[in-house]
């Protein structure tokens, strides 16, 4: 059994990507990654050799995130977004940059349960059953959160793109 750091290192960039999308804030994202890795260290003896370490780490991150929400370390919404727009990578075109800004704003308004599923599937490319395993919920719950999360995101982004107009179903 090799050591934790050597095995976990390859997944750290992905944990950081997911954490940033989840929290919407760099510092909180890095705190979340750090807490996740510390828990990984202390629980590594429980990891089953040969099983998917990436899924295991995402599971720990999910649990850490939920604990942080519960204890008020993270607020679930109302993330300040003014700073976020400045972080948009320069390579994006102006139109893309607007869309990216709208997406971030919409993401922050999404309930955490929905945001997690939308990100695990849409950004981290987890299979639905993997997402269910990471979140510790049935597959059907993943599907309903994905469906509702994506639809909310679509409406929020459409509203942002056409100010003053409300989407009427």
């Amino acid at each position: 059994m090799a050591d934790f750091a050597a095995q976990a290192a390859q997944y750290v960039p992905r944990l950081r990507r997911y954490a940033l999308a989840l929290t919407g804030d760099r510092h909180r994202a890095d705190d979340l990654v750090q807490d996740t890795l510390e828990r990984g260290w202390s629980k590594f003896h429980l990891w089953r050799q040969g099983s998917d370490l990436r899924a295991w780490l995402f599971t720990i991150m999910h649990n850490t995130f939920v604990n942080q929400l519960r204890h008020g370390v993270l607020r679930d919404s109302g993330v300040p977004l003014d700073d976020q727009a400045l972080e948009v990578p320069v390579r994006a075109s102006q139109e893309d940059a607007l869309e990216i800004r709208d997406l971030e704003a919409a993401l922050a308004k999404l309930p955490a349960d929905f945001r997690e599923v939308v990100l695990l599937v849409g950004l981290e490319n987890l299979r639905y059953d993997e997402a269910a395993q990471v979140l510790g919920v049935p597959l059907g719950t993943v599907m309903s959160r994905l469906s509702r999360g994506r639809e909310q995101l679509r409406r929020l982004m459409a509203e942002a793109a056409s100010p003053g107009l409300k989407i009427v179903k």
Partner: protein, 248 residues
């Protein structure tokens, strides 16, 4: 052709649809502009998510994230402990509980204590579940869970203050761990569990497990193990102090 469900649309978006059904979904979308619009929007969501967050993948990882723990606790030592647990510890416990091979309980006690010591002593943020400021609660709680009178001896005379304690699984039941720390931040743990009464001995025994020294003894229904990364003589002195406090 079966009806196209909401789930099929998401599978289509995420490339998780059975290839045999892709054509059916495409046909459905051609005939349903509303569904086609939603599918396009969901696909775009995924693209924008990647456009926004993929650059993180190319950033250098802050050195603190993985290196911090390494400096506190050298990789070599961690690897040694993990390897030893894998070979001797975990496998040993699993076999023992499955086959009840009857190896001396006390040897298991020392090993379990050393593992618990190695796992929790490096913790910076969460070394204990209940801190020393709630000592009375801690002792009451652990006594209740272990079903025996558990005490947290005071090691102040020997320069160690109680940090707190936690409840742990010990193969077939609960165990308690108290953690102590001196001014330099060196830590000792006292591990207590039931079911070590197979050998009714009270003599001190010493075991060395991957750099962690353990003095252990059995006293009535409880087994005790004091673990620390100290000189053997120093650890023995403290173990004596613990024993005499528990048996005034």
């Amino acid at each position: 052709m079966t009806a196209i469900s909401e789930i099929d649309l998401h599978k289509f978006v995420d490339g998780q649809l059975d290839p045999a059904r892709v054509a059916e979904v495409e046909e459905h979308l051609a005939a349903n502009p509303e569904a086609a619009e939603r599918v396009a929007a969901y696909r775009r969501q995924n693209e924008v998510l990647h456009a926004r967050f993929d650059p993180v993948l190319d950033e250098p990882v802050p050195s603190g994230l993985l290196a911090k723990r390494e400096s506190r606790w050298s990789l070599a030592r961690y690897a040694a402990i993990v390897a030893w647990m894998a070979v001797g510890g975990v496998a040993g416990w699993a076999l023992r509980s499955a086959l009840d091979m009857g190896a001396p309980q006390s040897a298991t006690l020392a090993r379990q204590a050393a593992v618990a010591h190695a796992v929790y002593v490096p913790e910076v943020r969460h070394p204990v579940e209940v801190g020393a400021e709630q000592e009375q609660h801690l002792v009451t709680w652990l006594s209740k869970r272990l079903g025996a009178d558990v005490k947290a001896p005071s090691l102040a005379d020997m320069g160690y203050a109680l940090v707190g304690g936690r409840l742990l699984p010990a193969g077939d039941g609960p165990a308690a761990q108290f953690m102590y720390q001196d001014r330099e931040g060196r830590r000792l743990t006292l591990y207590v569990r039931r079911g070590a009464e197979v050998n009714q001995e009270t003599a001190f025994r010493f075991a060395q497990e991957s750099g962690v020294g353990v003095f252990y003894w059995v006293d009535g229904p409880l087994g005790y193990a004091l673990s620390g990364d100290l000189e053997k003589s120093e650890l023995l002195r403290i173990a004596n102090g613990v024993y005499h406090q528990l048996n005034p």
